[in-house]
Subunit: 206 residues, 2 copies
């Protein structure tokens, strides 16, 4: 999917707020145009209907998620434990810094019509393989000793997603503190007998 | 809230199907009455509007959740480990046997208007304290040695909820198999250094 233009970005931001507030079904494309300060036909020039805008908003959410995760993964080394911690950190950042994007993914994907759902699923598949690859690499290296790597993968994704339900930007927990705790919990799942060796063993932290 | 009458039960089942299919915003109370085989005024005799029916459907979902969990907890002994495993089993049963109830709780609670939201939250609080009590009892008994009991509690709830996203009744995993695996994963989180054999025996295990 193409990167949204500055004008499209305005529609995406306005539409996201409206969908979060009212839900997709009760949101009106007319209201979104009004709140974006443009005519309805100006909006229709970019998105042919509400469905088309929903798809753009969800795709933008996935783009944001991918960018946040990939930035963390790029900073981490090749070690599966480091990669896992970076992935958890990226997910915590996404859920705490972009809560509306995460919320819409959780609630409105089911409102995509078949063609949009197909495009969206295809797009998501890339992101899912990221976590799968890390877990497989950790299992292959003998680091992740769990008997249930698939359940762990799904559980870790669910755990970090749920942070959005209770995270309070004004509360005492910073995203970094939360990321550290959840990385530890993720490792408790993947390494039920403890890690064979500590992460960054004998190495300087970046 | 009163137990729904047989007639109300028909509206709850029909409305739930419609809300799962179209989302609350796009669902029509007229269609629900039609599919239930009654006139619109017959439906309005029991529920004053779509909002009122949504609240009844969500409350019915919580009733089902509570009944399934409490049945499992009643079968378990007082030991927090047994209670935790029973709670996980109850959650797995709810997610696998009543997927639509769980799905609506995940997606439509935010469509409740303030008064309904207040009633619903009050009702949910009871259920939440169930898991909180188990975790606190396990921590007090020295069985759950995690440094992060609150994160574990939230994580376990998120993990078991997400089972609904991939569970396939035609697949190879029975709810009992899933419950056993997830109870083990929940204990990996709560007891990161392994489970002491009996409470208060003062021994540490690797």
């Amino acid at each position: 999917m193409r990167v949204p233009s500055p004008k499209q970005r305005v529609f995406i931001e306005t539409g996201r707020k409206e969908f979060v507030r009212n839900g997709y079904g009760s949101s009106s494309i007319r209201t979104i145009a009004q709140e974006a300060g443009v005519s309805l036909s100006a909006l229709y020039y970019h998105y042919k209907n509400k469905q088309d805008l929903l798809l753009a908003i969800l795709m933008d959410g996935v783009d944001t998620y991918d960018a946040v995760c990939d930035a963390e993964l790029a900073r981490a080394g090749d070690d599966p434990v480091e990669q896992l911690c970076a992935f958890v950190r990226g997910n915590v950042k996404f859920r705490t810094q972009f809560p509306d994007q995460g919320r819409l993914i959780a609630t409105e994907v089911r409102n995509l019509e078949p063609e949009g759902a197909r495009l969206y699923e295809e797009r998501r598949r890339v992101g899912r393989s990221r976590m799968r690859d890390i877990v497989e690499a950790g299992v292959a290296a003998g680091l992740f000793t769990t008997k249930y790597p698939d359940d762990c993968r799904r559980s870790i994704l669910a755990m970090v997603s749920a942070i959005a339900n209770w995270y309070d930007p004004a509360g005492p927990d910073t995203p970094d503190m939360i990321a550290d705790r959840y990385a530890e919990l993720a490792l408790n799942l993947l390494c039920p007998n403890g890690l064979p060796r500590t992460p960054n063993d004998g190495r300087e932290q970046e």
